[in-house]
Symmetry: C2
Subunit: 463 residues, 2 copies
């Protein structure tokens, strides 16, 4: 229990106003979870007050109050994270940025000035109004921009223009002590002050609260196509994927999945996977400014995949069909979630994705379980679901995850390419990052957040 709870609430009310404080148990409930798979999701504490500031200055005041009372602050965006990063696991404040959701598009400079609580969906929509686009698509459009930046989100469409880090031109950050830091702005290049913003991008909210971001936009690439390439052989599929990348083509997305996985998602959505042939698929999304460039690329890719043993590719330039295919791909996670123990976010160098997946299949056979594998073969980020299995204990399922991690690490990969560490991956930090990393981050954390108020039990392994 928080001591002086009443006094704390009083102080918070004086900053944000009574209507933006939530303490009623049922109302608090929806601020306690994120999308972490049930098997590994931590139990939230309920001893929290939800605070909804309306401005950067209010965020600053809330953090000062948290320091005064030495209570934890759990920063909350859209709650779409997969590693428990937004789940309050210590009593204190849930700082929800939902009210700060303004999006301003600077058309002439192709930059969006976005408050942290604006959703990905809103950013996409506002940009499109001006014929601009935010190409990345890290899954759930309910994610907030603050969350995307704090977690350096990725997603399937990161092959051409990269992960969220690449889009961030500037940040406004409230430091744990309440100081407001403004870094970068609307310029594409900026070497003034070693763009300290990059310390906060991907830091999962443990070093500061992101309140605003300047996001680089691109002109809407008007000509797009989605190509689903079926294969009877997984080996052929990967050889084709590698050839596409090694010839220097840069699709927006280059995805891999198999029939069982994609049909599970289609069924979940009450629709049908439209490609009848094949057991293994590459899904390639092309987006270009010039129609003729699109055609040249489509033809070239067609040649490559056929030479590597593809069956008849399914090609569409129709918007509705492309959206429907992307939707089926994007909902794989949701479709599997109910039966998922944990979704892994393993990433390996692009040249060894095939070897990685072969190894995962060996593990699958060894344990006699189903390990759905799919993901962003274009950047080596392969998701492996560890599914619940009758008679398997939590420990046994964790052992399977660890075996998969060991393979990724052995191949020069890492255990998270886009989801982050959050709460549930902290136990692997020592093994993957080592003592020097832990010591360095502890130093940074202690000097920026001496009272350890901000997301206190996230990222760093516990003592």
């Amino acid at each position: 229990m928080i001591r002086d709870f009443k006094s704390l609430i009083g102080d918070l009310k004086s900053v944000v106003g009574e209507q933006w404080i939530v303490t009623e148990e049922r109302a608090v409930e929806r601020y306690l979870y994120d999308e972490t798979a049930f098997g590994v999701r931590p139990e939230p504490v309920r001893d929290v007050v939800v605070v909804k500031p309306g401005s950067t200055e209010e965020v600053s005041e809330v953090l000062k109050i948290a320091n005064k009372y030495k209570v934890s602050v759990h920063v909350r965006g859209g709650g779409t994270g997969l590693v428990g990063g937004a789940i309050p696991t210590k009593p204190g404040i849930v700082l929800s940025l939902e009210r700060m959701d303004k999006v301003t598009i600077d058309v002439d400079n192709m930059v969006a000035e976005v408050e942290a609580g604006a959703t990905l969906g809103k950013l996409i929509e506002e940009a499109e109004k001006h014929n601009l686009m935010f190409p990345a698509h890290p899954g759930d459009e309910g994610a907030t921009v603050g969350g995307l930046v704090a977690c350096n989100a990725g997603g399937s469409r990161a092959v051409k223009t990269g992960v969220v880090r690449n889009y961030v031109l500037g940040l406004e950050i409230v430091l744990p002590n309440g100081d407001i830091l403004r870094l970068g702005g609307k310029t594409i290049k900026n070497n003034m002050g070693y763009n300290l913003a990059h310390l906060f991008i991907g830091s999962e909210g443990v070093l500061g609260v992101i309140t605003k971001a300047y996001i680089r936009l691109y002109p809407k690439w008007r000509y797009t196509a989605t190509i689903v390439v079926p294969f009877n052989s997984r080996v052929d599929a990967f050889r084709a994927a590698k050839k596409i990348l090694f010839e220097g083509l840069t699709p927006l997305a280059l995805e891999y999945f198999d029939r069982k996985v994609i049909e599970t998602s289609a069924n979940y959505l009450g629709t049908t996977w439209p490609v009848k042939e094949g057991e293994y698929y590459l899904m390639i999304i092309l987006a270009e400014a010039l129609e003729d460039v699109l055609y040249v690329e489509m033809e070239h890719i067609d040649n490559i995949v056929r030479s590597e043993g593809a069956l008849e590719p399914f090609v569409t330039q129709r918007d509705d069909e492309q959206k429907s295919l992307l939707k089926i791909r994007s909902e794989i996670f949701s479709a599997l979630k109910e039966e998922t123990f944990d979704i892994l976010d393993t990433t390996v160098p692009i040249g060894v994705v095939d070897r990685f997946i072969e190894n995962v299949i060996d593990i699958e056979k060894r344990y006699g379980v189903w390990l759905p594998v799919y993901g962003h073969v274009g950047d080596g980020n392969v998701h492996v679901h560890v599914m619940k299995h009758k008679g398997f204990s939590k420990e046994q399922l964790e052992k399977i995850a660890e075996d998969v991690y060991d393979v990724a690490l052995l191949l020069g990969g890492t255990i998270t390419g886009e989801h982050g560490i959050g709460y549930i991956r902290r136990k692997y930090v020592k093994k993957v990052l080592g003592d020097a990393w832990i010591e360095t981050v502890k130093k940074l954390k202690s000097v920026l957040d001496p009272n350890n108020i901000l997301n206190p039990d996230k990222v760093l392994p516990g003592d």
Copy 2:
């Protein structure tokens, strides 16, 4: 003078061996300067010993010794910086990484594992042997990879694939206390431990010594063209440049310069600028994996520039001609250097480059001086040379620079897009970055480098 100098030298010798220590005055001389313009270049101290470690472990030992004696360590790469970052301005150690110059190309994963002292030229050459490329070209090929990363270098070819930060997949860093930190690796995506590497990229060597980098390579784009587009009107040139960007085309480079500037460089090189027409030029470099894509883009760009008033474009696909054009462009700085007081590195949002340059021309007229302007119009990074002018004092020339900076800042820009702060830009830190930035960076610096040994009087403003 350093106290216990003899004892310090003895300790250093025991780590790197006697032959890798330089104390003789004339031999030390070539470690005292970088490429900073003469007008603003700081005077180096001569009370330094040059140490050339052969391994990361030796770097670590040298830093431990520096802490023991509490002497400064000035990290040195290729000495091609433009802001005095490599000039020793306090007595101590010049740590030259020249011996650590190994480049290993991992062809299958398209990654170069590069020791910090390897030059850009060597990296380019080694990558090309394997039909791969490092697309960025931050000017002088004598720069070292450690320097490129520490300074987050840019250059003309950063429009398509970005500045050096975008290529860094992993780093090996020796912290000021001698601890060795290994961050990231060969995966394109990596969210394990908020890729702390990005704190060090662009930090200009004040937080740690970069000893190795994992650099992302790309397949060599086989089809390239350089197009020089002449205009009689500057306004037309900028309108055309903007239209190219706003239609979603991504050339490798999109440069602007005028006849006087480019002919100065051609003369300096003893050659001739081959384009007879026009007073203002865009230079566009295209690089594509597919020949037909290149042609489609060339045709489209041709249409755009002609519709905006271009004269006859000069187009070449010949390697030697393209290299010669790039050489003339790249040597503008060297050609002007003798008469340059300072080269500015102003950067503005891409939509206001034209307004920025108009303002610079106003300043030029107001003072009656020549302010050569050229640069990377594709990412808003415009270099302005403040030339020496008969009868103008240092203070007057500095005032001109400040007027240019004020315009950039007013337009939402910044005073350095790629060169960094180093020694000579520290006086603008407070104005541009503010007190919260200074306080934050001081905290980070003090916790990582409590004895302030590493590049001690760089980046942060003096007290």
